[in-house]
Structure formats: structure tokens, C-alpha cells
């Protein structure tokens, strides 16, 4: 029930409509129950000869016209009444559908937007440890479970309870004995439905899991098609597939079999109930205690009631699912967002690019990743960093762009402590190019201008420097070529070059290359560096690379190992020292030396 309260919170403008949907569905249910009553009165008192026993308020108004004789002449009147009531009921049903949908869809939209926004602004640390598949599941299917629950199921439950209580009142006013007999099965079938769907949860889950295993297998096979072919492993893959395919088939069929038991048994119980009403009614009618019209009312009502009761049993088990889904979504929303505001938050001005790092340390889960790092970078200077995997280079770049916040030491950017800057501002000043950049499913042009839509005129220069122009020329649709699943897939090196172009276009005073030329061939790497220093020579740059050639030009090189700076200096100096730098240099120029 807490989930419903929360749900109403997200229907900011539509919660009145949503609540109105319940009233509409209630009114529709009452109207639906009226038609059998009209038929009863017509059969008993117009066609038959029972006294006309209408509620007094109707008699007060229409009393003069309503007598058996006049009605006998005008049998079309009850028929018209039935039509009018149904039209009215139709209107309420329509409103219910519309309002419930509007409420539930607004809820879904608001929650989706909030989730997405939240994910965008979540702490970087969260993104490092997240499980993408699980998150997407929460954002899509969990959310849809709640939406369906609100739009369809909850309203249905409301209708069922409404109907049950009104039916009870009408039935009681007609015949107490028949009421008890007619509703005999209702609790049984309700409990049966509830217990059954609780029990088959396991079977549902087993079938779902088998399906997941099957699709994972197919996915791996198709993604690795080149390997499958290269090793001529199709027969083995087929064996694996057949096993999963059959497993899925068997488990799904097992579930359907269980459902077959449920539906046949519960249908049978319902038929028994209708039979009991008919036979018991015959007894009562034969002894004159029940009119024919009332019997028709009882059989019609029981037919109307049994279906929603069976559904309710099922929905109540689903309600647990909606509750769980809500908890899972709330877990995401409870994660802290990054705080943004700070110095420079107006986004005005530019930093000069003077960076001083002093005694910087950073630990991740008790493990020291950066240990007492100090260096200074003057505006326009180039800093090179060489380090093994896990030496903390990437962490340093995350800290400099405030993706991670440092715990010890200080970083001064233009004399101001980095922590005091606005995150958005600082990221617009320090451009970070990642080793494995992510491209969006948009066109090449949109991908390049994504961070600086207003600077579209700079696109050619950025693309030229990144040596991307020749790549784009090869595509049929040039800049308009779509990237990703539905378009071309770029190679690792091409992606890196695109990432460079999209950072260059932002024209940030500081640029960090986090091994972002690793997949580019040596010749292109060289060309990029040449044109970079030609056109963007005034920028402060931090260049992380495994290639000595790339680092050799920089003003200052840091060699990092396990979070510490183990060597520093210019290329020439580092070559003379024994250590990682000269060792790497030897390997890379091996053919030259031997």
C-alpha cells in the first residue's frame, strides 16, 4: 500500500483523475447491475402478473404512468432503458479507461524522467560498480510492472470489490437464502486463485530463467560468429543450442500444464456454482419463494461476479511483484547524486590552466590508489604520464575532472582549490578523453558536436586534427552517417579519434588524453600529435600513453607505479635512468637496437 501512496506522488497533475477513475469504475459496475433488475421487473411484473414493486421514489415520480397495463403496451420502454443505462455505463467505462491511463502514464513518465535524471547525476563511483543489465531491468521492466499494476490491475481490484458489495446488497434484498447459496463458491475460488498463483511463481520463474539462458546462448553465438566459424564449431554450438532450446520448451510447457489444471478446475467450480444456483432456484421457485425474474438476476449476477473474482486472486499475487519493483526502483533513487554547485557555476570565464597538485592521496575501498602525488603544470605546458595498468593514472584524471573527489592533499587550479569549483564548470574547462570512449546512437556530426552544439563551425578543424576527415569521407552519408547498432560500427581507433574531435571542439583550456590514442596506428598517432601542437599548441595538456614516442615531446614526464610517482623529468633524462621508462623504450625500439 505504501507503493500506492508513492505512486500518487508521481502523478503530479493527474492524481485527481486517477482517483476519479475509481469512482467511474464503481458507477459503471452499479449500472451494469441495473440491467438484470430491469429484465427481472419486466419478466415478473409486466409479462408476468406479480405486483409492480418499484422503489418508492420512482413510484412517486412516475407512479401515474407505471402500471402493468400501460407498460404492456409499451414493452419498448424497458428495452430503451436498458440501452440508455448501457450507454451511460459505456461513458463511465470510457472515462475510467482514459483517466486511469492518464494517471498511470503520467506516473510512468515522471518516474522515468526522474530515474534517468538521477542516473545522469549519480556519483561517478556508483557508475564504476554498477551492473548495467540489472539497472536497465529496473528502469524498464520493473517500472512497467508498476505501471501495469496502476493502469489496469488496481482499478480492476477496485471494480471487483465494488461489484461484490453492491451485488451482495441487491441479492440480500431479493432473497437471503439464495444469496448464501450463490456466493458459496466466491471465497473458495478466490483463495484457490491466490494460492495457485503463489505456488506457480516458481514455475513462472523457471520458465523465464530458461528463456534468459536461451537468449544469452543465442546472443553469444551470434556475437562470436567469427570465432564459431573460425573453429568450425557449429556442431558443438548446435548441441548447446538444442539443449537450451529444449529446456526452455519443457519448462514453458510445464508451466502451461499447471495453468491448464488451474483454469479447468476453476472453470469447473464456476459451472458448479451456476448449476447450484439454477437447481436451488428451481426448488425455491417451485415452492413459490422466488420469482422467475429474481432467478434470472441471480444467475446473471453470479456469471458477472465469478470472472473478476478469479482475476483478483491473481492480481493480489501480482501486487507483491509491484511492491518489490517499487523497492528496487527506490534503491536507485536513494543513491546520492553529485553535488554540482560551486565556484564558477555561472559558467562564465575560462581558467588559464595552471594546475598545482600537492601531496594528493586517494584510497578506494581501503586500497591506496594514489599515494602522495605532487606536480605543477603551468598554462600551456604538456605533461606526459607513463605507468603500468593499475598505477593510478586514470584515477588521477578522474580526480582532476572532479569525477572523483580527493580525500587528502590539495589541488589548486588557478590558485583556487579544485573542490570548490562547480563540477560542470570544471569539466567544461578540463576536457578528458577516455581510452574507451562511448559513442551515442546518433549521426557522426551529432556525436562530434554533442558537447558544444553552438560551436558547429569549428567542426572541420577539430575533425582534421583528429585525422577523422578521411574516415568520414569514406562513408556514403558523410557527417550524417549513423553510428552504432543501426549504422556503421567504428573501429576502436576511429572511436578514439572521434572522441578527440568532440573534445577539441569544446575548446577547453586543459585537455587530458587518457591513453586515448592506444588503438590508433603509429602513423596516424604521429599525424594527430603534429597537428595538435600546430593548432592547439597553447592548451595545457596531460598525455597518458604507453608509447614513448608520444611522451617524448612533453615538457615533463611522470612515471607512475602503484599509485606513486617513481620517476620524473624529461625524456632524455629518463632514458638515462634505469626503470620502467627506459625499459619500455628498449622494447619499443628493439628492432633498432639489435
Amino acid at each position: 500500500m505504501t507503493s500506492i501512496k508513492l505512486a500518487l506522488k508521481y502523478m503530479t497533475t493527474k492524481n485527481i483523475k486517477y482517483l476519479s477513475a475509481f469512482i467511474a469504475v464503481g458507477l459503471a459496475a452499479i449500472l451494469m447491475l441495473l440491467n438484470p433488475l430491469i429484465i427481472k421487473v419486466t419478466i415478473d411484473s409486466v409479462i408476468g402478473d406479480d405486483p409492480l414493486n418499484l422503489p418508492t421514489f420512482i413510484m412517486n415520480i412516475f407512479g401515474d404512468y407505471l402500471n402493468r397495463e400501460s407498460l404492456l403496451q409499451q414493452l419498448w420502454l424497458p428495452a430503451l432503458l436498458i440501452l440508455l443505462i448501457t450507454i451511460l455505463r459505456g461513458i463511465f467505462l470510457y472515462l475510467k479507461g482514459k483517466w486511469a491511463a492518464e494517471g498511470a502514464e503520467e506516473f510512468a513518465k515522471n518516474l522515468r524522467d526522474e530515474l534517468f535524471t538521477h542516473l545522469q547525476y549519480l556519483d561517478f563511483g556508483y557508475h564504476l560498480r554498477k551492473d548495467t543489465g540489472d539497472l536497465i531491468q529496473r528502469c524498464t521492466s520493473d517500472l512497467d510492472t508498476i505501471r501495469r499494476f496502476l493502469a489496469i490491475q488496481l482499478v480492476e481490484v477496485g471494480r471487483a470489490f465494488f461489484m461484490l458489495s453492491v451485488v451482495l446488497i441487491i441479492m440480500l434484498s431479493l432473497d437471503i437464502y439464495m444469496t448464501i447459496i450463490s456466493l458459496l463458491v466466491v471465497p473458495i475460488i478466490f483463495i484457490f486463485a491466490y494460492v495457485f498463483f503463489q505456488k506457480v511463481k516458481v514455475a513462472f520463474k523457471a520458465s523465464d530463467e530458461a528463456e534468459a539462458r536461451l537468449s544469452t546462448m543465442i546472443q553469444e553465438n551470434l556475437n562470436g560468429v567469427q570465432v564459431v566459424k573460425a573453429f568450425a564449431k557449429q556442431p558443438e554450438e548446435k548441441k548447446k543450442f538444442v539443449q537450451r532450446n529444449n529446456e526452455h520448451k519443457d519448462l514453458t510447457f510445464h508451466l502451461i500444464k499447471l495453468l491448464a489444471y488451474y483454469w479447468s478446475l476453476s472453470d469447473f467450480i464456476c459451472f458448479v456454482q451456476i448449476g447450484i444456483v439454477l437447481i436451488a432456484g428451481s426448488f425455491r421457485a417451485a415452492s413459490g419463494q422466488l420469482t422467475l425474474g429474481s432467478l434470472v438476476v441471480f444467475t446473471t449476477y453470479i456469471g458477472m461476479l465469478l470472472w473478476p473474482v478469479r482475476q483478483t486472486g491473481r492480481i493480489l499475487t501480482d501486487m507483491g511483484k509491484a511492491e518489490i519493483a517499487f523497492t528496487r526502483i527506490n534503491e536507485i533513487l536513494a543513491e546520492p547524486k553529485e553535488t554540482y554547485r560551486g565556484h564558477g557555476s555561472k559558467g562564465q570565464g575560462k581558467i588559464s590552466g595552471h594546475i598545482v597538485v600537492q601531496n594528493l592521496s586517494y584510497a578506494y575501498e581501503d586500497e591506496l590508489v594514489l599515494d602522495d602525488i605532487s606536480f605543477e603544470l603551468k598554462p600551456g605546458e604538456k605533461l606526459g604520464i607513463l605507468g603500468t595498468t593499475g598505477s593510478g593514472k586514470s584515477t588521477l584524471t578522474y580526480i582532476l575532472t572532479r569525477l572523483l573527489d580527493y580525500q587528502k592533499g590539495s589541488i589548486k587550479v588557478d590558485g583556487q582549490e579544485l573542490k570548490e569549483y562547480d563540477r560542470g564548470f570544471i569539466r567544461n574547462q578540463i576536457g578528458l578523453i577516455l581510452q574507451e570512449p562511448f559513442l551515442f546512437a546518433k549521426t557522426i556530426k551529432e556525436n562530434i558536436t554533442i558537447g558544444a552544439k553552438e560551436k558547429e563551425n569549428l567542426i572541420d578543424s577539430a575533425v582534421e586534427v583528429a585525422q577523422l576527415d578521411k574516415v568520414i569521407d569514406e562513408f556514403r552519408d558523410q557527417y550524417q552517417t549513423a553510428v552504432g547498432e543501426k549504422g556503421v560500427s567504428l573501429s576502436g581507433g576511429q572511436k578514439q579519434r572521434l572522441a578527440i574531435a568532440r573534445t577539441l571542439i569544446k575548446d577547453t583550456p586543459v585537455i587530458i588524453f587518457d591513453d586515448s590514442l592506444s588503438a590508433v596506428d603509429t602513423k596516424t598517432d604521429y599525424l594527430i600529435r603534429e597537428s595538435l601542437s600546430e593548432r592547439y599548441g597553447d592548451k595545457t595538456m596531460i598525455i597518458i600513453s604507453h608509447r614513448i614516442d608520444t611522451l617524448a615531446d612533453t615538457d615533463q614526464i611522470l612515471v607512475m607505479d602503484r599509485g606513486e610517482i617513481v620517476q620524473r623529468g624529461k625524456h632524455e633524462k629518463l632514458l638515462t635512468e634505469s626503470g620502467l621508462y627506459s625499459r619500455t623504450w628498449k622494447i619499443q625500439s628493439q628492432s633498432e637496437i639489435d
Partner: protein, 609 residues
Amino acid sequence: MKNKEKSFKKNIDLKLWKEILLYSLPYKKIIIVLSAVMLLVAGIDAILPLLTRYAIDNYIVTEDLTGLYGFSLIYLLIIVIQGINIFALIYFAGKLETEMAASIREKAFDSLQGLSLSFYNERPAGWLIARLTSDVHKLSSIISWGIVDFVWGSAMMVAIVFIMLRLNFRLALITLIVLPVLLIISIYFQRKILREFRLVRKINSKITGAFNEGIIGARTSKTLVIEEDNCDEFSGLTGKMARSSIKAAIYSSLFLPSVLVLSSIGTGLALWQGGEAVIQGAITYGTLVAFISYTVQFFEPVRELARVFAELQSAQAAAERIISLIKTESDIIDREEVKEKYGSILQPKKENWPEIKGEIEFKKVYFKYNDQEEVLNNFNLKVAPGQKIALVGETGSGKSTIVNLLGRFYEPVSGEILIDGVEYRNHSQSWLQSKIGYVLQDPHLFSGSIKENIRYGFSEATDREIKEAADLVQATEFIEQLPAGFATEVGEGGDLLSTGEKQLISFARAIISNPAIFILDEATSSIDTEMELVMQKAINEVLKNRTSFIIAHRLSTIKNADKIIVLKQGEIIESGSHYQLLDRKGYYYALYQNQFYRGRERQKQRITS
């Protein structure tokens, strides 16, 4: 071809469904039993109001209960039969659905396994996966449950109309006036509703995609400071979703009331005209009540039939896609006599496979990808067994094409490729591919343990052989440092390991079957320097005594080759050993200079300083 797969025809395509019926032929018996059961269900559903009529006319109106026990027993018997029927209908429809889904999926999978790489290059894996999962599901469920609803709906309608006409011809005609209108309105709405829901699903998949991008691309979004733009864009998408969903819901909520109003006209007519008939003594009370129930009942089958037709239309697109996938012919097929002798892709006859020495010859090979420019024109190359060949050249010079042709992932447009002196299309593709060891640029691993991944190259390998293969490629050291050693799980696509580690395992996987021919396609790019050194040693070890083709960006990998072939626009412009080529001071020399020029300069500085 791709467009044809995507097209959605508005009308029911009878030829297509005839073809689909062929797929359901093996389940003829189930379908017949299912149809019979459905006829029975419809029949009982239709006669139940007659039982009520009988009770009213014979017991209630007459106030005489003789025979009520017999009546009760008959009623009980009928509902027991109906209960069994309902079990049978779900059982058989479920059987049909699951069996058909599994067999169609298997057919599609078989077809996919035989298709060539050029097919895969044109279609993203995600697209293909959707064919094998959601499309197959849609098709099999529409066939099985469609039969259920169709048989029941039509039988029920015929039965109700028939019973009503028999009960009272005049009254039946009057009340059935609404039936045609009901049919038309139902079909109209069901079509609209399905179309709207399809639109909703389309937007929904876009939203899923956006979440995916938002999560995976979070780091990139942060560094570019585009969170706000992303959120705005997303909000536009969800707004569209909400509008479409509400529209779809409105159509659905209009449909039910219209049907109800129409059938209430029927009920009203039955009450009015039937009531007069009762008074005139033309029909009994029981008949009147039965008529009233029938007018309420007959909108159900009408609605079901309308739904089946609408769904049939929407499933048609799925059916078209699956069938065209199953019927797609591979560009690369073994000739019948070759299949006869060496077996097919899925059923190889390994006992007939000859050994391979490793002599390779490209003879007047001409090749181009689909309608693009030619890549190779009159390409000739002869490689002796055990020779190490390095291919050098710019992107697009034809390096990868040559190894793809060699592995028969593509075939020459004209010309021949001889292996041990025999044109390779005289053998089966599986034979060739299992005799060649590959290390590809992207070392795709399968989920499972390291051991299982290495064994992928040779199913019969013992644990010791696996260890030896790992030793040979210098992978044992890092494997043994992992928490579970060789039993460590590598994750989906091998993503729990680093690129370099994956590459070493793919190396071991390639070497374990002891192939006579070895192909290295950019195997050492994107690996850090120290790892590269390890790889270099492994490569030298592995390539001993094997015919091998190496493609690499880094010249250090290439230097040791017996013969370096320099390619430009599909032609060999230089070939020879490293030193021969350097002496020639040609293209290779220039390339070499380019890579090491600056390095040499530095070294000079070092020497002179």
C-alpha cells in the same frame, strides 16, 4: 532484401501463411485434436443457456420438480466434460505453441550457422537475436492460440445463430440485426488498437535504448557535461510515450463500450419483442431468458475473431522475417558431392577429412565485396609449407581480405585458391576452418571457465594439453594468479579479463588443435608494451613449423617473417625479407622510417649527447 524483410503488408498474405502452415504440418495430429476440442467447448458454451431454458420451462414455471435430479445429473456430466475440455485445450495449445516455437527457432538457428560472414556484416547481432526470440514467440503463439480462438469463435457464432433461429426464427432475425455492425466495429477497433500498441512498443524500445546509453555512457556524458541535454532529450521521448500510450488506451476504452452498447441493443430487442411474444404465447419464458443470454453472449466470439484477424496481420511481419531468414541461402556453400564425402557444417564426417601440409596458392584471384570496388585483381601468391608470411599495407589495401579468403569466410569471385595443390572448394569449409588456427583482433571468448575456452579449439583436449597450450603462449603465469586458476570464469564475452589476457587465451585456444596453418589478424594491437613483449615470444614459439599469415600494425611483429608482402590497393608492390626490403628503399622502407624515424632521432641525440 533488408527492406523486404522490414516491410509490413496491410493485407493478409495467403502465400506466406500457406508456407507457415507447412511448418505446422508435423503437428497435424495436435491441431486436429485441438480443433475438435474447441468445437466441443463452443458447442457446450452454446447449449448452456438451453439448459437454463429447460429448467425454467419445466420446473420453475410449472412449479413441478419431477425430473430435476435427472436434469442435475445431466448438467453435472456436461460441466465435467467441459472441465476436461478446457484442460485439453490449454494442454494441446500449449504443446503446439512450445513445440512449434522450438522447431522454428531451431530451423532459424541452423540457417544462421551456415550463413557467411557477409550476411552477418550487414545485420547487427541484436536484430538477429530479436528474430530468434520475440518473432518466433509471436509467430508460434498466434498459430496455436489463434487456432483456439478462431475455431471457438466461429463455431460459437454459428452455433448461437443456429440455436436462436431454431428457437424462434422471427425473434432471431430481429436480435441478430446488430451482429454485422458488431463485426465491422470490432475489426475496426482491433486494428486501430494493435497499430497504436505497436507504436507504443516502438517508442518503448527507444526508451530502453536511451536508458542503456544513459547508463553505459554516463562517464562520457559527465566528461562532456551534457547531462542536461540528455535529460531534455529523454523527457521528449517519455512525453511521446505517454501521449501514444494514452491514445492507445483511449482506443481500447472506446472499444468495449461500443460493443456493450451494440449488444445491449440486442438485449433490448430481445426483451421487447420476446416479451410481446411471451404474452402472445408464441414463445415460453425459458426461451425469452435464453434469448437474452445469447444476446449478451455473442459479442464474446465476435471480439475474439476480430482480435485473431488483427493479430494475424501483425504477426505477418514477424512470420515474413523468420521465413526469409530460414530461406536465406549462404554465399558460401559446399557442393553436394563435397557434402556427401566430408559432411555438412552441422554434421561433419571427420573420419574422411584429409590431413593438411600447409602449402597455399592463390591463383589469379579476383575479389570484391558485394557491389563495391574490387579489392583484389589478379592476385597471385604461393606459400610453401611452414613459411611465415607477413602482410603489410594501409587500411583497405586488401590484407584482411586475403586472410578472409584463405579461411573461406569469403570466396574468390574468380580464380582459385589451392591448399596442398587442391582447389579448396573441393573440400568442405568445416574441414578447412578446423585446420586453420586463428587469432583475431577482437579475441571474443565465451562465458565459461578459462579451461573451457581453451578447449573450444579442440574438444578432446585433456587438462594436461590445455596446460601445455597455456605454457606455450606464456599464459600460465597470469592464469595461475587468478583466484580459481584455470577454472576462473571469464564472464560474458570474456569481459572479466583484460584485453591482453583475453588475447593470450585466444592464442592458446588457437594453438591447442595443433593447426598446420595459422592466421594472426592484428592480434597485438591495443595491448600495452610489456604484454606485447610476452605476446611476441608466444608468437615466435607458436609459429615454428607452421604456414602462417601475420597482419600487424607494428613492424616489430613482422620483422621475423620469412617473407613480407607489401600491399597497395590489392596488389603486391614489394615482397621479400625485412632486410631485402629495407635495402630496396621502397614503400616498406618509407613505412619503417615513418614509424621509427623519430625514435632514431632521439637515439642519435642520446648517442651524441
